[in-house]
């Protein structure tokens, strides 16, 4: 059927890029099974997109969506949109993971997936989890929370924030579209050449991967700049660096890591693209190319990246341990110093990802030792968190359950990390399932629990009602149990020498372990279902769990001092900060909820369509490049350029909210707070908790 469509218009697109085409032409049972899976996924994408369009039209909400969300420069709304992307992508990637686990559970000498299909699964799973789940999730949380914590009204560059969102959305869209116009890359999330060079993989798969990742790294670089500048420049008066909440500290270090860590990958994928499109020889074997340069560039990004992923959860857990223990964080300065140590060290350890590439023993040893050094500040942090609970009053609310799961499981990941940092032992477990178990041991209890914990923690702030507790607990426990069942067996498999990315295996000794891991994946699927039910039940019962007073957990930092959800401008009057745990000390001194003497006019950024334009042109350009549809590439490029120039001519970039309106809103809220009955912490999880805690007595949470 190929050659049917005019190349000038459709580039390399053809009928056989549709996921079921091959099976139609040559229907064997095996091909049909694979076609049903990939065709089903493609159909889900198309139907999902159609469903959203129909739903919005039916509800008549296009205008609302456009003016309140898509064009809004509000950091809170942008944060929520980042998180929505992350959750959709999480769902897809978890389903893919379950397919992989199912394949390996029945994979002794067989299975049901084709090699190409399996290769796409681990590539998209890894790429999505890192670039389109983890990054948008933590970017979303920081976006939402950090300005509130430092007493700011918005990020320094709200329109750039929209553009970051647009770029991430474009990348995510490209990965989704690849389910309809297949295939995606099989080169893994790391995309090592020469395998990903045109000589070995001429198809569109690697190009999809390149452009999706490029969009994501550009987005994160801009985000990093935005966060760092905001934290340096927009802190409330009195908020010295050493008074910032720990989450803000980790946001700052993460932002710096983003600024320096992301560009190496942008460069690497761009050079790979030059190789593939224009016959450069950066990473080929001949004409002076060398794939080792790619590997170094990739991990010069890759290792800072894992700390980009883990530092924000460290900050989140610091807040949660302190809040739910009703106690100051133990060793604040130590935690800050440890965070800074970790972020500096994270730049000098990248070589531990390729000890086996044949470099000198002294080089390997030096990088191995540097890697182990990171264990020291990390260990100190863990002890600080334990000491935060020690002599506290610990409440096992849902965010805290995740935090406990994190602290106990994360140290095991640390243990296996030290094993992997030891070159002579790494030679045995590198690229085996031991490695997979290790980094999931960091990423699920660390990153993912951090994100879920943060969601449970700050959700009432963002939406004005608490997430339901019962299903929240079920989800949290299922995640913990599911994780252990799904990944501890992989340690054994790795030690028994099973390579990662294995479609099938031939050792009967592996079978019991792959079966347990498969069962664990089902428990994780159940945990996902619990999350969905939790969300559903929470929305259904939202009136019981209202939190307008804004402080459901007896919080310590400034975000809890404002209403839930906060007004667009966050604070009617910019707060003044005199100590750490700024809001807690206000409460201790009985100074919370005071009526300000006067209200100012507030200048806020005006709506802008830049983010939407970049999302559309970014995905169009990536799609055009992938399929060699040059008119689309040129068109998208021109539109982007025109939009950027046009933006320079926009005069009305701000909007003023009158002091009257601010006063009215704020006084109404204070009135509402006054009518709320304060509750002590024993009622934290009951409907009586409307966001007003009984004030602390001598710092003791009641």
């Amino acid at each position: 059927m190929s050659g049917d469509l005019p190349d000038f218009i459709f580039g390399k697109l053809d009928w056989d890029t549709l996921p079921f085409w091959d099976a139609l032409k040559d229907p064997t049972t095996f091909k049909i099974i694979n076609a049903v899976i990939s065709g089903g996924a493609g159909a889900l994408v198309v139907l999902g997109a159609l469903g959203v369009v129909i739903l919005v039209t039916w509800l008549g909400k296009w205008k609302y969506l456009w003016s309140e969300w898509l064009t809004s420069p509000d950091h809170k709304k942008i944060g929520i949109m980042f998180i929505v992307i992350a959750i959709v992508m999480l769902a897809r990637a978890v389903i893919e993971a379950v397919f992989m686990r199912a394949q390996q559970a029945v994979g002794l000498d067989g299975g049901f997936l084709s090699p190409e299909h399996f290769g796409e699964f681990f590539t998209t799973h890894g790429t999505i989890m890192i670039f389109f789940m983890a990054m948008p999730f933590l970017t979303g949380i920081i976006n939402y929370v950090m300005p509130l914590q430092i007493g700011a009204r918005d990020l320094s560059f709200p329109v750039m924030n929209q553009i970051s969102l647009g770029l991430t959305a474009a990348g995510a869209a490209i990965v989704m579209i690849s389910l309809v116009f297949t295939p995606f890359s099989t080169g893994g999330w790391s995309g090592y050449p020469p395998y990903t060079e045109r000589a070995y993989n001429p198809g569109p798969g690697v190009d999809y991967w390149i452009w999706a990742v490029t969009l994501s790294t550009l987005s994160s670089t801009l985000t990093g700049i935005n966060f760092a500048v905001t934290i340096y420049k927009k802190r409330a008066p009195g908020m010295k660096l050493f008074r910032m909440p720990l989450f803000t500290w980790t946001a700052l270090t993460t932002a710096i890591l983003m600024i320096f860590g992301m560009p190496p990958l942008t460069v690497a994928t761009a050079l790979l693209a030059l190789d593939r499109y224009l016959d450069f020889h950066m990473f080929t074997s001949d004409l002076g190319g060398n794939m080792m340069n790619y590997v170094n560039l990739f991990w010069a990004f890759g290792h800072p990246e894992v700390y980009i992923l883990i530092l924000p959860p460290f900050g989140i857990f610091s807040e949660i341990f302190s809040t739910f223990s009703g106690k100051r964080i133990f060793g604040y300065p130590v935690l800050v110093v440890a965070t800074i140590c970790i972020s500096i060290l994270s730049f000098i350890v990248w070589l531990h990802h390729f000890f086996t590439m044949g470099q000198d023993a002294a080089v390997n040893a030096a990088f191995g030792i540097a890697t182990m050094l990171i264990g020291i500040p990390t260990g100190v942090k863990v002890y600080d968190w334990m000491l935060t609970m020690y002599r506290g009053r610990v409440r096992l609310s849902v965010p805290m359950i995740y935090a406990i799961g994190f602290i106990m499981l994360f140290v095991l990941g640390g243990l296996t990390g030290i094993i992997l940092a030891t070159p002579s032992v790494d030679y045995q477990v590198h690229n085996s399932l031991f490695l997979i178990a290790h980094f999931h041991n960091m990423l699920i209890p660390g990153l993912l629990f951090g994100m879920l914990s943060a969601t449970n923690f700050w959700f009432p702030k963002a939406l004005g009602f608490r997430l339901e507790e019962r299903w929240g607990r079920r989800a949290a426990y299922s995640w913990i149990v599911g994780f252990m069942l799904a990944f501890f067996p992989l340690y054994v498999l790795g030690v028994l020498g099973m390579p990662r990315r294995s479609l099938t295996f031939f050792e009967p000794a592996y079978l019991p372990w792959t079966l347990i891991a498969g069962f664990g994946a089902l428990v994780i699927l159940f945990a996902m279902l619990c999350l969905l039910i939790q969300l559903w039940v929470s929305i259904r019962d939202r009136h019981q769990n209202m939190m307008t007073a804004g402080d459901p957990w007896d919080g310590r930092s400034l975000e809890w001092s404002t209403s839930s959800p906060p007004p667009e401008y966050n604070f009617p009057v910019i707060p003044e900060v005199h100590s750490r745990d700024a809001y807690m000390s206000e409460k201790e001194q009985g100074k919370a909820h005071q009526v300000p003497d006067e209200f100012p006019d507030i200048v806020m950024p005006a709506n802008s369509a830049m983010g939407v334009i970049i999302a559309v042109t970014g995905s169009a350009m990536a799609f055009g490049l992938t399929w060699y549809i040059w008119w689309l590439v040129i068109l998208a490029g021109v539109v982007t350029l025109v939009a950027v120039i046009a933006r320079g001519f926009v005069r009305k970039t701000t909007r003023v909210i009158s002091s009257d309106e601010v006063r009215r809103t704020h006084l109404a809220w204070l009135e509402c707070v006054r009518k709320t009955t304060p509750v002590d912490r024993s009622k934290e999880q009951s409907p009586e908790n409307q966001g007003l805690p009984v004030p602390p007595v001598n710092g003791a949470v009641q």
Partner: protein, 349 residues
């Protein structure tokens, strides 16, 4: 277990005891009955044995830092629960003494680990020749898509699917890839090493005694990746000589046609056997090649396998110590190439 490894106890007894308790039971349970040795926890050579020891040593040392967390967290949770009676100090947020402990213990643990790491990384460096009174056997390994070619340059033969090695004699491997990145791995004998196109890496291993071990590729390289396995058959000297003689008698000549139409084509060892007309081939058995072109390995590294043999009769052992030295290899030429050896490069720099 028919072939008990002779574990030589070195260093502290704790890891050794741990390995008996923790490692042995599940591993022997699951692998003891299989004919091949698949893991370094069941080591069959000095390198893997040392790696196992180091593995348990690292586990034991790190436990010093990890166990307190796992044990004390539940205790703290219970004792300091909301509504409990234990002392409550909401403002207590620092303690010099605890700070010193908190930094001190991990620092000491990491310091000890670092010293051992430095020593072991050098001692177990894959590039380091093994101490032995026997001359090492040279084996050159070439990764193709989904199969390995093992060249015995001194014997003038090559095999695929099975690597036959003499027991108790050091083996000196040189590795390259005729295609994308791959990783060569025999867990029961020692660690992995990457094989890269137009570069040479090295690996030194030794088997303590005869037996069958699993070998594989660890780096994904496409659809047939999971089939890129081989059997390592370690035999005594007499059997090894028999094997060589057998290969000379029965091997197929490895000529340009077989190289280009079988080896270079994507496919696993069984596919190659089929293409070579070996109808009764069983996976894990050797496909034998003899004679083989002189300097085949060198030629593959230079991306001109059947030309360099003619034009460049240089000794094949002269691979670079480290693959980086190959970065500046001359570009592929149309005219008969005269590849510059890395040594020339290095000395001319």
């Amino acid at each position: 277990m028919s072939e008990q490894p002779q574990t030589s106890r070195r260093g502290s007894p704790l890891p050794w005891v741990l390995s008996r308790i923790l490692g042995w039971s599940p591993v022997t349970l699951l692998t003891g009955c299989s004919a091949t040795h698949i893991t370094f926890l069941d080591p069959q050579g000095p390198i893997a044995q040392a790696q196992r020891q180091h593995f348990w040593f690292v586990v034991a040392m790190t436990m010093i830092v990890v166990l307190p967390v796992i044990i004390q967290t539940p205790w703290i949770l219970w004792r300091y629960r909301y509504g409990g009676k234990a002392p409550y100090r909401p403002h207590w947020d620092m303690s010099r003494w605890l700070d010193v402990m908190m930094w001190g213990v991990p620092v000491i643990v990491v310091a000890i680990l670092a010293v051992v790491l430095w020593q072991q990384t050098h001692r177990l460096d894959p590039y380091r020749p093994l101490d032995s009174d026997k001359a090492p056997l040279q084996v050159q390994v070439v990764g193709f898509d989904w199969k390995w070619l093992f060249i015995y340059p001194e014997q003038g033969i090559a095999t695929m699917g099975q690597l036959v090695l003499p027991a108790d004699r050091p083996i000196s491997f040189q590795l390259t890839s005729a295609t994308v990145l791959q990783t060569f791995f025999i867990p029961a004998l020692g660690g992995q090493i990457d094989a890269m196109n137009r570069m040479v890496t090295k690996l030194h291993l030794q088997a303590n005694h005869t037996g069958r071990f699993a070998g594989k590729n660890m780096q994904y390289n496409g659809g047939g990746f999971h089939h890129q396995r081989f059997t390592v058959r370690v035999v005594d000297d007499r059997q090894f000589d028999d094997f060589i003689a057998h290969a000379h008698r029965q091997g197929q000549p490895l000529d340009r046609q077989r190289y280009e139409e079988v080896l270079v084509q994507q496919g696993d060892t069984a596919d190659a056997a089929r293409a070579l007309g070996l109808t009764s081939y069983q996976r894990g058995e050797p496909i034998r090649f003899a004679p083989i072109p002189r300097d085949l390995f060198r030629g593959i590294v230079d991306d001109a396998p059947f030309e360099s043999a003619v034009h460049n009769p240089a000794p094949h052992q002269q691979a670079a110590m480290h693959p980086v030295a190959y970065q500046a290899l001359p570009p592929k030429q149309q005219t008969p190439p005269k590849p510059t050896l890395p040594q020339d490069k290095e000395t001319s720099q």
